[in-house]
Amino acid sequence: MELSFQLKNNGSELTTLHAILVKLEKRWALSGKTVMELNLILDELVTNIIEHSGCDKECVIDIKLIKGNSEITLIVTDDSPPFDPTLTPAPDISLPLEERGCGGLGIHLVRKFSDGCRYKRAENRNVLTLIKKLPKEHR
């Protein structure tokens, strides 16, 4: 099963993303938890693209979800300048409050809630492929 959709580099598109995933929960018989985690992964990636693309130019973000037997593959493609989120250093979450910065939290959540992430630049677009394993009872 596959689903493809497009979002623009505009924060209000996060509402669109949520609405699409809510529909998918029923159609693909996913758990609420899985949908929430897919939402968080895609939210953080889309937010990153919006921040890195610059607000003056409209970019298109293509999102494709492929449901396999035991996992969902997410492919996020955008035409903003080259940006590899997999190179973002992980934040040190053991630091005390005074030393904690805000950077890198989004990509940290993406890494924690997904099971593998690969970046490539192809045809002038950023292509990020992620794997999200499904819990046994929802395979």
Binding site: K33, L40, S94, L105, G106, L109
Partner: protein, 114 residues
């Protein structure tokens, strides 16, 4: 995303509902800003009706904790739904932010501090 602000004894309570993401975070940041410049009261964030939080929301919570740290007042969060709590834990924010199970628990915790 909606915020209701109320006062109880010596605490200001923010009750959040809806979704706190990068789209709604600026609005919430504005609402909480006035309370962070020079805190004059304890602050409780009640997450009972908050369905979702992303890193954009966590940033504001982190900055709130930082603003309260050097003051004599307490900053407490409460009533997190499981997913929101998990995001807090994965980000390590639970190590320095007090998370109470219920609003009543957080009001009791404030009393104990006095």
């Amino acid at each position: 995303m909606k915020t209701e602000i109320s006062q109880e004894n010596d605490a200001t309570i923010f009750t959040l509902s809806g979704r706190l993401d990068s789209h709604t975070a600026p609005q919430f940041e504005k609402e909480v800003e006035d309370y962070l410049i020079s805190p004059e009261n304890n602050l409780v964030l009640n997450f009972n009706n908050l369905e979702y939080i992303s890193s954009a929301g966590l940033r504001i919570i982190l900055n709130t904790a930082k603003a309260y740290k050097p003051t004599q007042y307490q900053f407490i969060t409460c009533s997190m739904q499981d997913h929101v709590l998990e995001v807090f834990e994965i980000s390590g924010l639970d190590t320095f932010i007090t998370i109470c199970r219920t609003l009543d628990d957080s009001l009791v915790a404030l009393k104990d501090e006095v």
